[in-house]
Symmetry: C2
Subunit: 522 residues, 2 copies
């Protein structure tokens, strides 16, 4: 680079473009090919850089960040293999509608013909988990390409944009800062859809709203509550939600269960289903002899607003159409902090401890898999909070997502609920929590097995586990020691063997700043 | 499945086919869609199943296994995201020429239209890191498809074969066991190539053999030593080798350095380079103003045998052509166990401790990155051992590869040399070592930084790190506590702060069976 170059090098132009467009957090795990980008971060103000020690942490943090900040973060990943390590959490982000701007370093363009050890087809690796992939072809293009990536990532619902940055486009002279387009407006509700939805809810059949995407935020829920009060419909929500606003003062929803039989039971009497930011509910997996689509036979499905549409306006229009805008909302939750339970650890007991101690406006990141399935009722009467689910189903999302959520909202407490099996995939996130002094309290439910799979083995008709199958589904022999794992990453760890202990550990964790982990032995 | 079905279900037919063809180890991280395969493992004898708590462990273990067993293992991975988590180590395996049979579960074929949360384009995810990808289309095809995958994985050098197994092809009735084709013979040397190589070595220019692939095994090295003695040529080896046989009684090689300047210096006088299982040496990365190809201008390159060719026979033919079959080999290493050094930790001191204490026929897995670069001279005079490098350059390979190597050779001691940065990517391998009581001794060189990147920042002309760049390259604040991390995974941990301590810790670790970790504070 010419040191007198007005715009700096390509990496400078990209960092400036990101910052100028409000993308001011970068979750990073860089390598040699990204050193000019790292160096640009030194020279240019305005970007918060957060190091992850594994790329799954980086990608999952960007997902958690988007859900709370409602705007994309950037990631910095090292070549094709570094991107590959982030793919599982990019998958989760993609399914959750989280926007992310991935910056993936590449060999200098003229070096590719050498077929050096780390050479891969980066665009091919990126494509399955990205909505948009581009490789910059010259340093002068980098700012413009970066702005295009931001434009794409901001589309509602958020999208995964992956920009591949060959090293020479980072170190040669860059162009001026480029402006991304303003986020596209969400599609406004159509009069016909509103009228169709109103008819569906008032036809006299048992009816339900099914909410997803941003229709499970506080204001939208209140409107759904008014509509339910007016029409008698039920309010369901998808099994996995990017961000549910729940707790006292908010309208509660019935969460569609993970397991097929209870899901079918919940939906069996629903003759009219109105989708608001949701999809027709389907089984997570196929099971021999069970249906994939979970609605009852003959159920009529009406789409009021799709994911990415303006769901709040659609619910407002529907409430107006029904004359329900002043109706007192149904299913409004009131604060009901339970007393602290004691005795042996049970899922209900854990939920009661959580509900009793949950700080106002906490963010709860739920990757508790089997243990947390029944938490909904107790948590609905807890202090108001945001509840984030793993939407894409690829475990190893929770600790990274909690990290990103805490970066997005440093003033709030983040509580991460983790199965021990799922926490192990990306436990390196603990270190980032420690380095950044993030206010994350991690509860690891240590049942010492892939309990979900022990159930699934039977569900798919594969019988009961013999010795070898049991070995594949158990995490004991040896038991993981989560207190030591936390300490190893620089995080304070405690262990709770009963509900009294859990309440004590959680109180202590909430009273101190910074990250903390509690192993809840089940 | 019809319980009377003669062949069992598709999963049964696959497990039987794997076992019948000698693929008798499966590194697994299963999910719901693989439960029938897991169940089949219960019913069918002959498959050793090894659980990894993250898919990067599974894929890297299969790589390490192949290098020592010289035959493929299978992996069991959960859908597209599970495969994605394994891609980085599949990349390393692909670059190392390790054969692997990946079994990737998929939703039942009829469930794909539901677009359930975990639905992805698995073939697209597999393709960048696989030589061969196939999806079974019916249960009756599974045995045949499995045999085809084995045939492919066994091609020399080993190849990555990925078989996608929809759940219904696992649970419907399968066909009979299928036979894989015998491994293809490696291509025999051509008379013309042998004559060309002989001319290159005897033309009077400074000449060198450059060895890679299986040309760095003991017998091939002895032939190289005879040829060197006869012609005066040097014996070089590639920077990264799948499996170098080194130590007392073996012919030593000059390893091409990672850094460009010392590599150019090593090659500057080589006018004739004869490749045996090796490629023309190239720089790992591009650096402004430095060449990508490392041979000197005007250097003549002759290929005696490519990777995958019959390199031993080629060297034998060359030795015969030169009349060197009885020549005493040059560069034959003699055992020279140094005394145990003491004092502060230095790379040379670590190498001396290792060389002094190394058990005979140990397997050393080297992902020590910066710390281990200078170990070659001391280790050449140690007891004979196998030395495995990370070939694809994607860090997070060492602990998994050590796991797989130990499964392949339970009677041997495995020593894993790890940088702290690289060990963090796949530290979950420690748990598998504990569960399987593997005889792996892990040395983590805790320099608490990505030291290689601190050098690379300067090498690419990106200047000296400021505060933010330094944050991205440092692993302190907080320091990782490897003794606690080991304990958390069920592995005994020790810490060494000086060479005396390292010698004590390593002696203690070698005296006890099972896994053990030493944090070497640098």
């Amino acid at each position: 680079m010419n040191p007198e170059s007005r715009n700096g090098n390509g990496a400078d132009s990209l960092v400036k473009t990101l910052v100028a467009n409000g993308v001011d957090v970068c979750f990073t795990n860089p390598g040699t090919s990204e050193m000019h980008f790292v160096s640009a971060l030194d020279r240019i103000d305005g970007m918060r850089c957060v190091l992850g020690l594994f790329e799954g942490v980086v990608a999952g943090a960007a997902d958690g960040y988007y859900r709370i900040a409602d705007k994309p973060a950037s990631t910095l990943l090292h070549l094709g293999p570094g991107l590959a390590n982030g793919l599982a959490n990019l998958h989760n982000a993609k399914k959750a509608g989280s926007g992310i701007v991935n910056i993936v370093g590449e060999h200098a363009s003229y070096h590719l013909e050498c077929n050096a050890p780390l050479t891969t087809d980066i665009e091919a690796i990126a494509t399955p988990m990205s909505h948009w992939v581009r490789t910059s072809h010259s340093a002068a293009d980098v700012a413009r390409d970066g702005a295009a990536a931001i434009t794409e990532a901001r589309q509602p619902p958020g999208r995964i944009a992956t920009l591949v940055l060959p090293a020479d486009t980072a170190w040669n002279d860059g162009a001026a800062v480029a402006q991304a387009e303003a986020p596209a407006a969400r599609r406004a509700p159509e009069t016909a859809s509103v009228a169709d939805a109103a008819r569906a809810l008032t036809r006299g059949h048992p009816a339900a709203l099914l909410l997803g995407d941003i229709a499970v935020r506080e204001e939208a829920l209140l409107l759904a509550g008014r509509i339910a009060a007016k029409t008698g419909c039920r309010i369901l929500s998808e099994y996995a939600l990017a961000r549910l606003q729940r707790g006292a003062g908010r309208v509660t929803t019935e969460r569609i269960p993970y397991a097929v039989d209870p899901a079918l039971a919940m939906l069996k009497d629903v003759g009219e289903l109105v989708l608001v930011g949701a999809r027709v509910p389907v089984a997570f997996f196929a099971y021999p002899g069970k249906p994939g689509v979970l609605t009852a036979p003959g159920c009529q499905v009406t789409t009021l607003a799709a994911s990415g549409d303006e769901q709040l306006a659609a619910l407002q229009a529907l409430a107006e159409h029904l004359g329900a805008t002043s109706t007192r909302p149904a299913h409004l939750a009131r604060l009901d902090r339970p007393g602290l339970p004691s005795g042996a650890i049970t899922p209900e007991g854990i939920a009661a401890v959580l509900a009793a101690l949950l700080p106002e406006h906490a963010i709860v990141v739920d990757e508790s898999i089997t243990t947390g399935r029944g938490f909904n009722p107790a948590m609905s009467a807890a202090a108001p909070h945001d509840w984030l689910n793993i939407v894409g189903g690829s475990i190893g999302w929770g600790l990274p997502a909690a990290t990103g959520a805490a970066i997005a909202a440093p003033e709030r407490t983040v509580i991460a609920l983790e199965g021990d099996g799922s926490a192990m995939y990306t436990l390196q996130a603990l270190w980032t929590m420690a380095r950044e002094s993030l206010n994350v309290k991690v509860l690891v439910f240590a049942n010492r097995r892939y309990r979900i799979l022990q159930g699934e083995l039977a569900n798919v008709g594969a019988g009961t586990p013999g010795r070898k199958a049991d070995d594949m589904l158990s995490l004991d022999r040896p038991a993981l020691d989560w207190v030591s794992l936390a300490r190893g990453h620089g995080v304070d760890g405690q262990r709770a063997d009963d509900l009294d202990g859990l309440a004590k550990c959680l109180s202590r964790a909430l009273a101190a700043p910074g990250p903390s982990l509690i192993e809840v032995v089940i």
